[in-house]
């Protein structure tokens, strides 16, 4: 068991280019499932490869278990890595693949066999040992790759998008399995993904990266509810946070926090439970929302449109609600929507970072009068 730390870790591939990884300081915790999340090209895989010893840092230090490992070969770092492609050895059987790391470390044959059986049993692939990788399905290959990684009980697991080659349905079940598996073996794990659902579902903590640097580190709830800057706000969530420019401030609110309060327009009544839930959670900021179109996604509905009136006039916004919400929204119709004040996030327009809230109705107000909490 070991923790990983990086100190000012930087990788520049070509002199003069922007770094692929820039000045990253990271501290994993014992037994933690740490997710590196970012769009492609954000440097997350390069960071992982530097930790694995497959890429040499341009500057900075990598520590595993408190010891600087910059000059150690991958072999000496006692880590296991699962590649995006799984990188199974195509000419070896499943048995040969799983026992390869043990052979490389000179583990004697009887012990090797015991460990292979243990690892194969843990992942439920005992019946596949004689097969070649090309005779396996995607899910089975992924398990073989995992078995090969755990078989020598490494100090650290590195996983590079191990689920991205699976189809959607399998991915969901593999995700749960992988997460439970990590909890069971309790090995410190660093997991690279560009899929925010994976990151949120599996990570103890999430490291959001963009253009080589770390934008925010926190629990899934922290990075989602309290994004450190507009990049994190826009990257997480689907659809992402509404970000509305307002002078030198950007006001942000999640689509699910932007909901209809139809009684303001004098139409149907506000769902009682909706208001009841909110007692004591701060006042509403009402906004007038002209719907342009709706997407029905089965479990939820997503409304696209423009805000009207007040200082947000003409700004595009998105609302998301459960499809159990029965109201009808015709294209082109105008509705009264609202956001709770505590759900508004404020960002500096220049730097994109969070700033203290500004009063919204000081210069004309957004869409109408404030509604006091019921």
């Amino acid at each position: 068991m070991a923790i990983v730390q990086t100190r000012g870790l930087t990788k520049v591939f070509k002199k003069g280019d922007a770094g692929a990884v820039v000045n990253v300081d990271l501290d994993s915790r014992e037994g933690e499932f740490l997710v590196l999340l970012g769009p492609s090209g954000s440097g997350k895989t390069t960071l992982l490869r530097m930790i694995a010893g497959l890429e040499e840092p341009t500057s900075g230090e990598i520590l595993i278990g408190g010891r600087v490992v910059n000059d150690l070969t991958p072999r000496e770092r006692r880590i296991a890595m699962v590649f995006q492609s799984y990188a199974l050895y195509p000419h070896l059987s499943v048995l040969g693949n799983i026992s390869f790391p043990l052979k490389a470390q000179g583990v004697p044959a009887p012990e090797r066999q015991k460990k292979v059986e243990w690892a194969a049993g843990l992942l439920g692939i005992g019946h596949l040992l004689a097969r070649k990788p090309r005779e396996l399905s995607g899910g089975e290959r992924q398990r073989v790759a995992l078995a090969r990684a755990i078989v020598r009980e490494p100090a650290l697991f590195l996983l590079d998008e191990p689920l991205s080659n699976l189809d959607a349905k399998l991915r969901a079940s593999a995700r749960t399995e992988l997460e439970q598996f990590q909890k069971r073996v309790a090995t410190t794990t660093i997991y690279v993904t560009h899929d925010q659902v994976e990151a949120m579902a599996m990570g103890d903590r999430v490291v959001v990266m963009n253009k080589g640097s770390v934008r925010q580190i926190g629990t899934p709830a922290e990075v989602y509810d309290d994004p450190a800057d507009t990049f994190v706000a826009a990257f997480l969530g689907s659809p992402p946070m509404n970000l509305i420019e307002q002078g030198d401030v950007i006001v942000g609110f999640r689509p699910e926090h932007f909901f209809p309060v139809t009684h303001l327009a004098g139409a149907a009544a506000v769902p009682e439970d909706l208001l009841a839930d909110d007692r004591g959670r701060g006042p509403y900021v009402p906004l007038r929302f002209r719907i342009s179109h709706e997407e029905y996604l089965g479990a939820e509905r997503i409304l696209y449109g423009e805000l009207e009136g007040g200082r947000f006039d003409g700004k595009k916004a998105v609302s998301r609600m459960s499809s159990t919400h029965g109201a009808r929204f015709e294209s082109g119709s105008l509705h009264a929507f609202a956001v709770r004040e505590p759900d508004l996030k404020f960002f500096d327009r220049e730097k994109g970072t969070r700033r203290e809230p500004v009063p919204l109705d000081s210069s004309g107000g957004p869409g109408g009068p404030r509604i006091p909490p019921a």
């Binding site: 991958p74 072999r75 990188a87 195509p90 390869f100």
Partner: protein
């Protein structure tokens, strides 16, 4: 003509030149060789008498033939082993980017692009008994006796070695190109996974990379065997089979007997001994190609 009709003719039409070429330059001589081998044809003779297998029996009884047969195998096997080792090392070295890689690639390809006869004439001078630059260097370094320097082409074992090395020099670039393609086709992930799994250089090479290269290596070797087993240029130019037939190989013996010795029948019989070997190699080659396709 309709589009479909044109298409029906296009394929065979495109194929025709190749068929003509193979029939005229491979098929006809091959059939002729069979006819000659069971006859009594000499250069300039007008008649033809069927003599059965007597040419084959007389060839097999001749010590020169047995020597050439053995030499052919020695020549092919030794040069292919050297080519394989050398080409793998070169391909590995050229796989990674470094300054001047294009130039080095160009240099390595040169022996292949240069006509083999001209290259061999160059080597004939390099290995000459009087003017050899190798000997000049060895003598200056006091590694060889000035008055009896090594006779590269004049002593049986040295001559065989020289012939093998020159042929290796000529074959190396082609094999390097094939193997380089194979090395670059191995996904980078796999040797990396092996490195993370704790395998050092030689374990990665022998247990992961070379086994993955096997189909490509097979192709390179089979091509090399065919080119080598049927080649007589290097032997013809460097030693003419000498000294005392010690470097004679089957193709050169067939040429010396059939064309220069004007015994067409016996020459044809000698050359037909190449057929079974080449047939086996060709069969292996097709099988390897087929296997490489399905995996």
């Amino acid at each position: 003509m309709s589009a479909l009709g044109r298409q029906r003719w296009l394929g065979p039409a495109m194929f025709l030149p190749a068929i003509l070429y193979v029939v005229a330059l491979v098929g006809v001589p091959f059939v002729l060789a069979f006819i000659y081998a069971v006859g009594d044809v000499k250069v300039g003779s007008v008649g033809y008498h069927f003599v059965g297998l007597s040419n084959f029996t007389s060839v097999m009884e001749s010590p020169a033939f047995r020597r050439a047969l053995r030499n052919s195998f020695v020549f092919t096997i030794c040069s292919q082993i050297l080519v394989l080792i050398g080409a793998n090392i070169l391909a590995l070295a050229l796989k990674n980017a470094f300054r001047g890689r294009r130039f080095v690639r160009f240099l390595i390809l040169l022996p292949w692009v240069a006509p083999v006869s001209i290259g061999s004439i160059g080597w004939k001078w390099i290995l000459d008994s009087l003017y050899s630059v190798i000997n000049w260097v060895l003598i200056r370094l006091h590694l060889a006796n000035e008055f009896s320097p090594p006779m590269w082409l004049g002593e049986p074992s040295l001559a065989m070695m020289s012939v093998i090395l020159v042929h290796t020099w000529h074959m190396l670039p082609f094999a390097t190109v094939i193997l380089l393609a194979g090395w670059t086709a191995i996904p980078k992930d796999i040797p990396e996974a092996a490195a993370v799994d704790g395998a050092r250089f030689f374990r990665r090479l022998f247990q992961i990379e070379l086994p993955m290269m096997l189909p490509i290596i097979n192709v390179a070797v089979l091509f090399g065997v065919i080119f080598t087993f049927t080649d007589m240029t290097v032997v013809y130019i460097l030693t003419r089979g000498g000294p005392y037939d010690t470097t004679q190989v089957l193709p050169s013996l067939a040429f010396f007997t059939g064309i220069l010795g004007s015994d067409l029948a016996e020459g044809a019989a000698i050359s037909l001994f190449l057929v079974p070997v080449l047939a086996v190699v060709a069969w292996l080659m097709l099988r390897t190609a087929h296997r490489a396709e399905i995996t």
